[in-house]
Symmetry: C2
Subunit: 432 residues, 2 copies
């Protein structure tokens, strides 16, 4: 249950419920309903009454701030027929926070230490509003602040461990396999019989996000020993079937996986970008520590810059156009030389909504990878509108980059992967 008018009117999107749902699912609890309600006391009470009828545990966020529209703990005190009392350890914690930031403490801040008399206080290590745990006629209610990082800290520190203990939840094991370069339905086809043969206590979930699919195996206790070991034993078949699309066997990003490959091979990288306008560089540098392998980029939107900074030949531009495999190959090779890097990738495309030529339609993107011994290029036609075309182009060139780095890493031999080109964007789902 999330509380606040700002949620009802879409001024804030309720990401708290999504986080709580993810975490509850991981420990094997079933989520019955998510409700977002207004800041009005009578409507909060009505929602509490309904929630306790459908669930054993009601997690509540929001309405614990210091201002007058923050009603939650007052409503809860009245709902449980009790009153607010001062919680000394919380008061000292709030005082410490204000001292640390050297801010004057107002009476409203002091009131953060008032809690309903019947609650157990959950220490909020990262904020002034404490969590509150209530047990009332067989139902657990937990009230947490709406600030996402405070809620997350309270969930992790207190709420999830307590729920696991309270409900004697059998240990659940998770394995995550991250893939990129093939849509959900195509992946499913390739591993259909493997999935059908999974033991009853091990479930597979496909979690697609933009241009990537996370596979999550969830194993529940079947009374036999070494659940995790038996789950790990399922992976070799998966690697055999879809190994070329797997970029990690843990939660991570494609750009972080690329960073690890570059570090392992002691290679430096740079980019030459036209249609992606710097997004590929931004993603590569979003990884902490990327300065160890990322040197720089040339964003060459205008053809002058492609020629002057990247050494693309005027003849190439004249003959094939800026959006062509020929141009993007020269861009990647030019970036290698110009930035003094081992590996470079390049993009050029017509992001849209305008810019089509006689021979190239809006959404045409060309990508290239160059490492000094070889240059590989691709051409795709996308049709998702400007912003998504740019996102897909960046995701695709990073996918190409990772596949090349991984292949060379394994065998020293480059395996041409032209055959994959046709399926990369043929997934009918808008989430590739």
């Amino acid at each position: 249950m999330t509380i606040g008018d700002e949620l009802l009117y879409g001024q804030v999107i309720d990401t708290n419920s999504a986080f709580m749902g993810q975490e509850l699912g991981k420990i094997g609890l079933r989520v019955r309903q998510i409700s977002s309600v207004s800041d009005r006391a009578d409507e909060i009470v009505a929602a509490l009454d309904q929630a306790r009828q459908r669930a054993q545990v009601v997690l509540i966020t929001g309405g614990l701030g210091p201002t007058k529209d923050d009603l939650t703990k007052h409503v809860l005190a009245r709902y449980f027929g009790t009153e607010l009392v001062l919680h000394e350890p919380t008061l000292r914690h709030v005082e410490e926070i204000f001292q640390r930031f050297n801010r004057p403490m107002l009476d409203v801040n002091r009131q953060q230490a008032l809690v309903p008399a019947n609650c157990e206080v959950l220490h909020n290590a990262v904020g002034t509003a404490p969590g509150m745990w209530f047990s009332d006629q067989g139902t657990i209610f937990v009230s947490m602040p709406g600030v996402p990082f405070e809620m997350k800290r309270l969930m992790t520190d207190h709420v999830l461990p307590r729920l696991q203990a309270l409900f004697h939840i059998a240990p659940i094991e998770h394995l995550v396999v991250m893939t990129a370069g093939l849509g959900e339905s195509f992946l499913a086809q390739k591993i259909e019989d493997w999935e059908d043969a999974l033991p009853a206590n091990i479930k597979l979930a496909y979690l697609p996000s933009f241009g990537a699919v996370r596979l999550r195996l969830t194993g529940s206790d079947d009374g036999q020993p070494n659940l995790r070991g038996r789950m790990l034993a399922l992976l070799p078949v998966l690697r055999e079937r879809i190994g070329e699309y797997i970029f990690a066997e843990e939660e991570t990003t494609l750009e972080a996986a690329i960073g690890r490959l570059l570090l392992a091979r002691n290679l430096t990288i740079g980019t030459a970008e036209s249609c992606t306008g710097g997004l590929v560089a931004h993603r590569l540098t979003s990884v902490a520590g990327s300065s160890a392998y990322f040197r720089g980029s040339i964003v060459a939107y205008h053809n002058d810059i492609k020629q002057e900074e990247l050494g693309v030949q005027a003849a190439t531009l004249a003959q094939f156009g800026a959006v062509s495999e020929a141009t993007v190959r020269e861009m990647a090779e030019g970036a290698r030389r110009r930035l003094g890097v081992d590996v470079a990738v390049a993009t050029s495309g017509i992001a849209g909504p305008t810019g089509a030529t006689d021979t190239k339609q809006v959404g045409t993107v060309c990508l290239a990878y160059a490492d000094g011994t070889q240059t590989i290029s691709r051409e795709y036609v996308l049709d998702r509108g400007r912003a998504l075309n740019v996102e897909y182009a960046a995701q695709s060139v990073l996918t190409l980059l990772r596949q090349q780095l991984a292949q060379e890493n394994k065998s020293g031999v480059v395996i041409a992967s032209e055959a994959k080109q046709s399926v990369l964007f043929s997934a009918p789902n808008p989430i590739m």
Copy 2:
């Protein structure tokens, strides 16, 4: 009411409810509750029963797909005691869609044209699952697909106009003023008396998003003529008080507003980026038509690139370090020359989590603007973690850029704005 297990377990974040809440708020309807429920028939029915007790209108999305876990219309037919019947116009529409994409049509696709006998069908121009409008014992239920762009189209084409007509909602007027560069609470302070003096039928909402605050004036009918004109007459005072932070008087982005200023002044732009790693270029090029003024960028992560590509002096790097106003000024000036642009902005910083030096802490970012007649620089210390530090640095340099372009545009005279520096990041709210 949004339907689907994927919402309960956070595999998909419920943005549909946020959109519906925004649109309902705009036409003056009060949103009572948002509920997300599972794919189970009995739980959908329980939620319908509770929803009709608190609201006159229940909007439902999800569960209208062609697969067997898509239960919504079956549940609704049973809930209303009716049966599914074939809707001929919908069948023809579905057939047309499959013909257009040259795909074989399966029986499950044909079933998209089955609807409960008591509904009015709402034509879905952009998908195969129609919307359904039910009126049952004084309550309106509307079922729409969960695919966001289909739901949005149905809301705009059918649902919102029908609701406005049905409830005789008085016309509501909205004015939006977009600001960047000053936090919500500081803005509020500057316009407090103006806000307090607003007529009773005109409300102001502060809608903060990352590094920007949207001000929305909502005027409801007071029986007097020319509501919109009277609202527009309120803006001059707002412009006088906070004009330097206003970048548009309509819904738009900061980068789009910058694009308009560049086009109006016939100026070209490029960027030189270290800590932002290409994000500033990516944002500038996210605007359709940006190739008319954006030429390119140098992402200079490594100091070699700062020297070779941007002409930063070795002595400057040695004396002041890469993260310094001196370096970032030379970067901006170098980008102007190198990229052949009229205006350039530059960033350099320690995004974190590591990289602090003896004199510079993590989160230090330096920004510069150069236009040939002047170079302006800023230094801030941010503390929001790597990803947000990068986002804030990009937002800040775009804010600096816009302010400079706007000032010069108005008067031809550059007004030094050093005094503002201290407040830009002092807002205590994580959403600046």
